[in-house]
Subunit: 244 residues, 2 copies
DNA sequence: GGCGCTAATAAATACCATTCATCATCGTCG
DNA sequence: CGACGATGATGAATGGTATTTATTAGCGCC
């Protein structure tokens, strides 16, 4: 059937990298706004200025597109954090820095964080994926900090570094779920202080005389960390104020 | 038009409660085996001995069916745990008990736990749902333990009970994700000990070393040095944050 | 300036949750 | 004891959406 030979199809050829980045930018928008399930390929295609089918030339399916989008975000984030971290000294400060930057990332990109937690990490092929490796590197900094702290005699030698990692990242995630669902807000600096202190000192009242000194020092340390943050020495408000 | 009046439709009438429990049992099976997305209503209907449409007489949609299934499981679990808990004494033992039973539930029903974490909790209407209330009650036992421990002088008074809750449940979840994806196994008892100890004592080398005062002073000096280094900077904003 | 190669398109397909028109069964009442 | 109305149950239709496919258009090469 010859419906319209008069109507010429509009075709706009572009270099593949450009197409790919257009599609990924559009996909990021839509995934962020709608979440994975409610994101429509049609919508993504529309915003990228292509037709549905074209997306499948570059991405095997909707899920691969999601993974690529989150990967891209995560890589960018890692780059931003890495250099600053190198300057921080002392186990308390290092833990606090890691907690603070992680909280800040969640606070800045709740929707992407959610996609990572809810859609990516539970997938059966997560282990073995590039994102798994990226995340491993990301959380491993904390493992190294704990090991170094033990070696330096600052931390209890019987602490399992991997367990500390799960304690810290798990705590952060659990505590931010309400925010990730869109309920209320939180202050990354304040929460970072609280978490770091709790992990560092634990719950138990030590056998030492419950020195008032203890809490004075802790408060002093907290104050110092805040000062440092304000001065931009350690935990700066990373990428929002930085060129990428 | 009557296509085959010779073929009489087989109809099997049952009391609603029976139908509902049949459907829920079938749904539980299928959700557990396939996960939410890959579970087919057709499959559930088949196993329940009804036709697709019948499911919609009792459940508004697939998601409501999921919620009901998980609710049922959770309620059962709560009942089982509650009585035993009443007998445990001492904050370490109580925390250990809660950690252990939670780990055991995850170990026994990984698929249902996953559905709870991945499908139910992130939903925008989670807060306000019955499961939210159930879970609140479930985790609140730990909050009460911490409060009681503080009151009894066993735990540090500046610990935030809610933060401890997030620390513990977050840690458990983070540490069990690999298992929930089907990778490897874990020993609930062993993990419960490790988590409880870490939370209880914290990371920092506390009183053990020769002189407690020594390390307090050392930390004070470190903190002071940092303060001096950062001197001249305006204090951080509002932040009433203190070590809690 | 034609020719093939491949990007890009638009329509077709497949798969499912959900809805709907219709039928079968049961308790009740004449 | 037999019609009858209410309602449980059915299976086919609907609608939405990811994915595939057949076809067309633009670019570079000779």
């Amino acid at each position: 059937m010859p419906p319209r030979s008069a109507l010429k199809r509009q075709v706009n050829r572009l270099p593949p990298e450009r197409r790919i980045s257009d599609i990924m930018a559009a996909a990021k928008q839509v995934f962020v706004e709608k979440g994975y399930n409610d994101a429509l390929i049609t919508d993504i295609a529309l915003r990228a200025g292509v037709v549905e089918g074209s997306i499948y030339r570059f991405f095997a399916n909707k899920r691969e597109l999601l993974v690529k989008v989150v990967e891209h975000w995560f890589e960018e984030m890692l780059r931003d954090d890495a250099e600053q971290f190198a300057a921080v000294r002392g186990s308390w400060n290092q833990i606090r820095f890691i907690v603070y930057t992680h909280l800040t990332s969640i606070h800045r990109d709740p929707a992407l964080s959610r996609l990572m937690f809810q859609e990516i990490r539970p997938a059966p092929d997560y282990r073995g994926s590039h994102l798994f490796e990226l995340n491993r590197a990301y959380t491993h900094r904390l493992v190294d900090v704990v090991k170094a702290g033990i070696a330096a005699g600052e931390l209890r030698p019987e602490s399992s570094p991997n367990l500390v990692r799960d304690l810290v990242f798990g705590c952060i995630e659990h505590r931010t779920w309400a925010f990730l669902r869109g309920e209320g807000d939180f202050d990354p600096a304040e929460m970072a202080d609280a978490i770091t202190n709790l992990v560092h000192h634990g719950l138990a009242l030590g056998s030492e005389p419950a020195s008032p000194m203890e809490s004075v020092v802790a408060r002093l340390e907290t104050a110092t960390a805040r000062l440092e943050a304000a001065a931009g020495i350690a935990p700066a408000k990373s990428s929002s104020s930085r060129p990428r």
